[in-house]
Symmetry: C2
Subunit: 438 residues, 2 copies
C-alpha cells in the first residue's frame, strides 16, 4: 500500500493524538521542490512541517516580469499556508532554519526553538553566484527573490524618471547592463526593452530612444548555451530587433555602484547592472549537512535522493547535486525540482512502510525561453527546436499551467491579456519601503 489514500482513513483518525504518533517529516524550503514534496505527503499518514523564511512560494520563472513591471508581486507569489489549507497533516512555519543536528535529528530555528524530525527534506534551493567578482555582491542586482525583483523594478523605473527630470537641460544617456546570456538574461533583456519602449512612446518620458541602451554581455560565444545553435542565433536576432546590444566574450572584472568594468579595460556607466550569471546552492543549512559537497555548492545525494550515508535526510531541487546518469548531474531547473520533490515524498512513504527506496530518473520535458511578444524558443526533449509565435504560445500556456493557485493564474491571465492589447496600463509603480528617496 504505497499511496495511502484518504479514503482508507475514517475522518476521525485525523485527531491531534493520532497525528502525534505518525512520523514527522520536516521540509526546509517552500520553492518548487519543497512544495512538491509536501503536496505528495498531504493527507498521508505522516506529520509534515514545512518551514520557509518567506510566508509565500515564489514562481521564479516569471520573476523577471515583476522586475520589468509587467506583473505585480502578488501575481507570482502565493502564501504557503493557503496552498496547504486543505491538508490537515501539514503545518507551515514562517521561520529561518539556522542549524541542523543529524545525530539528535533536530533543526534549530532563528528563534532558538528546536524541531525534531524523523525525516528531513532539505529543499533550500540556489541563489545567485557572483564568482567573487569585486563589487558584484554589493552592486550587481540579482533576480532570485521577490525582494530582488521589487528592488530592480524600483531601480529601473527611477532611473528612467530621473533621466526625464534631468533632461530639462540636456539629453541624458542611460545604460542598462545585463550580465549572463542564459534564459534569465535573455528574458529580462527582452522585457526591459518593452518597458523602455512604453516609457518613451506611451508614458511620454522625455528620453532619446537612441540614448537608452540595453547591453546583454556574456563571456560565452553565444546565448542560451543549453539550447542548440539555431535557437541561440534566433534569440540573438530577436533581441537585436528589440534594440538590445548583444556582446560575447566579455568578462566582468568589477561592478561599481553605477558602473561596470570589463577585462579589456572598458568601464561603462550603468544605471543598473542586472546579474543573470550562475547560481550556487543556498549555503546556510547545506554547509552543516554531513554530506560530500557537489558542484556549485550543492549537496551530493544518492540516486534515491538521500544525503551521503544518511537514512533519513534527503535533498531535492536546485540545492541538490542529483546524479543524472553517465557521470553528469541533473540541471538546476524547475521540472527537476518538481520531479525530485515528488520522488522524495514517495520514497519517504516507502521507508515509513518498511520498503526499500527507488532510484530517481529525470524525465526531460524540454526547456524554453521567451524573448518578447510572440517570440520564444523551446528545445524539445529529443533536441528539436520550436520558435516564434508557436513557441511563445507554448511558453505562455505552460507557465500559466504551472502557476500555483487558480486565482493567481486568473490574475496573471488578465494582466497578460491587458498588456497584450493595451500596453500602457501595466503596474509601473515605484513603491519603496523608505520614503526618503525622491
Amino acid at each position: 500500500m504505497l499511496y495511502v489514500s484518504m479514503a482508507t482513513f475514517p475522518r476521525a483518525e485525523f485527531t491531534p493524538e493520532n497525528l502525534a504518533t505518525w512520523p514527522h517529516v520536516v521540509i526546509v524550503g517552500g520553492g518548487f521542490a519543497g512544495i512538491s514534496t509536501a503536496r505528495k505527503l498531504a493527507n498521508k499518514a505522516v506529520r509534515v512541517t514545512i518551514i520557509d523564511r518567506h510566508n509565500f512560494h515564489t514562481f521564479l520563472p516569471l520573476l523577471y516580469q515583476v522586475a520589468t513591471a509587467g506583473l505585480e508581486p502578488a501575481d507570482v507569489a502565493y502564501p504557503i499556508r493557503t496552498i496547504f489549507g486543505h491538508a490537515r497533516n501539514i503545518r507551515v512555519r514562517h521561520a529561518r532554519v539556522v542549524g541542523v543536528d543529524q545525530v539528535r535529528n533536530v533543526v534549530t530555528l532563528h528563534t532558538g526553538a528546536e524541531i525534531s524530525y524523523d525525516h528531513l527534506v532539505v529543499a533550500t534551493g540556489a541563489t545567485a553566484s557572483f564568482f567573487n567578482i569585486v563589487g558584484a555582491k554589493d552592486y550587481a542586482m540579482p533576480l532570485y527573490t521577490l525582494s530582488d525583483a521589487r528592488r530592480l523594478r524600483n531601480r529601473l523605473l527611477r532611473a528612467l524618471e530621473d533621466a526625464d527630470v534631468a533632461s530639462e537641460y540636456e539629453p541624458v544617456s542611460l545604460n542598462f547592463v545585463i550580465v549572463g546570456g542564459g534564459p534569465t538574461g535573455v528574458e529580462t533583456a527582452g522585457a526591459l526593452s518593452e518597458l523602455i519602449a512604453i516609457a518613451i512612446k506611451r508614458d511620454g518620458l522625455a528620453l532619446d530612444p537612441t540614448k537608452v541602451r540595453i547591453r546583454l554581455v556574456d563571456v560565452a560565444p553565444r546565448l542560451l548555451t543549453a539550447f542548440p545553435d539555431t535557437a541561440s542565433a534566433y534569440a540573438k536576432r530577436e533581441l537585436e530587433k528589440l534594440g538590445v546590444d548583444v556582446e560575447f566574450g566579455r568578462s566582468v572584472v568589477e561592478v561599481e555602484a553605477r558602473a561596470i568594468r570589463f577585462d579589456d579595460g572598458e568601464r561603462l556607466e550603468a544605471a543598473a547592472v542586472i546579474w543573470a550569471g550562475g547560481v550556487t546552492a543556498v549555503g546556510t543549512l547545506a554547509s552543516q549537512l554531513l554530506a560530500p559537497p557537489g558542484p556549485s555548492g550543492r549537496a551530493l545525494v544518492g540516486v534515491d535522493l538521500r544525503l551521503g550515508e544518511s537514512t533519513n535526510v534527503w535533498s531535492v531541487g536546485d540545492g541538490a547535486a542529483i546524479p543524472g546518469g553517465e557521470g553528469v548531474f541533473c540541471p538546476q531547473l524547475a521540472p527537476v525540482a518538481i520531479q525530485s520533490g515528488r520522488h522524495c515524498a514517495k520514497q519517504i512513504l516507502r521507508v515509513v512502510e518498511g520498503q526499500g527506496t527507488e532510484a530517481f530518473h529525470y524525465h526531460d520535458k524540454g526547456i524554453m525561453a521567451t524573448i518578447g511578444r510572440r517570440a520564444a524558443v523551446a528545445k524539445l526533449p529529443h533536441g528539436g527546436v520550436v520558435r516564434g509565435t508557436v513557441g511563445w504560445l507554448a511558453w505562455l500556456g505552460l507557465h500559466l499551467w504551472y502557476l500555483v493557485g487558480f486565482r493567481n493564474r486568473l490574475r496573471v491571465m488578465i494582466n497578460w491579456t491587458w498588456r497584450y492589447f493595451d500596453w500602457p496600463s501595466g503596474p509601473r509603480l515605484i513603491v519603496a519601503d523608505a520614503e526618503t528617496a525622491a
Copy 2:
C-alpha cells in the same frame, strides 16, 4: 468661452511651438486635488506640468485594505503618467519640489532644476499628525502612503507568524492598538479583525483567538465624531461583535518600539501601534508660501482658492484651509479635494481668458465608513444615517466608482468578490525590501 473644447482647436495647433506660447500651470501633488485640477485642464489652451514625489496616484480611502492584506498595492495605486497619457498638454515629473520663489515665479526640484510657472497649484495634501507625543513619530505606524501600508502589513503579518513560531512552547499574547476612532481607525480595526480571523481559522496559525486582541482607543467619548450619535453607537456595536475592544477617554503619552503608555499610567505591550489620529498639512512647500497659516498647518486661501495676496498661486485639497462659510473651514475629505481641484482649474482658465474669479462652494455628498463585511455607516448630506448591508453596498459602489482607472476597478472588484466568497485566498505576502529579516 470658458471651457475651450478640443474641437475648437484643429489638431495641428498642438505643436511644440504652440504649446510653448501657452501659459504654464505647475501642479505640485498627484493626489485627488492635483489630479482633479490637471484633468480639468487636459486638452485646454494651457501647458500643464504635474509634479509628484511618487510616480503614482494613491487611492487613500482603501489604503487600510492594503495594510490588512485584503488588497494589493497595485489595486489602489495608478501611474500618474498613465492617467494623462491621452492629454498632449500635460507633462508629468517624478520629483520632489523643495522650494518656491513667488517673486521669480519658479519652483525648485530636488535635483536643483528650476521650473517656472505662470500659475502654481499647491496640492501637497496632509499627513499624519503625532501631536508631539513622545516616540509616536518613530514607533507609531501611520497610514498615509502606500509605503506606510506595506510596512504596516509586513508588521502585522510578521507579528502573527512570529507568534505562531513562538507558540511551539507556550501560548502567546498579542495586542494591536489603534489610536483614533475616526473612519481610518474604525475601518482598520474591522479589517484587522477579519485578517486575524483568517489567520487563525483558515491559515491554521497556532494562536489562541482570546489572546490576540485589537484595542481601538480614542480620547473622545465616541467613535466617528463627524457622524451623528446613532452612527457612532452602531459602529461601536459592530466592532465589538468583531471582537474589538473600544476604549474612550484614553490619552496616549508615549509610544515605544513595541508598547504604548497612557496618561492613567497603563503601559501595554503592543505588536503594532497604528496611528489613525489627526492630520497636518505636508509642510515642505507650504511653509515657504507667502500666505497666512490656517488651522492644522494648512495654507489659508481666499474663496477663489488663491493664496493670500497672490494672483497666480492656488492651494487645493487637504493642504488648504478653504473657507466653508460661517467662519468654518471645509473638512479634509476626498470630495473637497476633488471639487476644489476642479474649481481651481476652472478659475485658472477664467484668469487666462481675462475673466474674474468665482467663489468655491463645497457640495456635501455625505460621508461614509465601513466596519466589516456587510456593515457600514453613511451620513447623508442632510444629516440622515444609512447603515448595515445597504450602507455597505453603497460604500462599495461609491469606492469602486471613484477608483481611478478601469483596470484597477476591475482588479479590485475581482479581489473583493473573491474575498467575499472565499476569504483565505487574499494576498497575505510579507515582501520586505531587505532580506535580512526572518
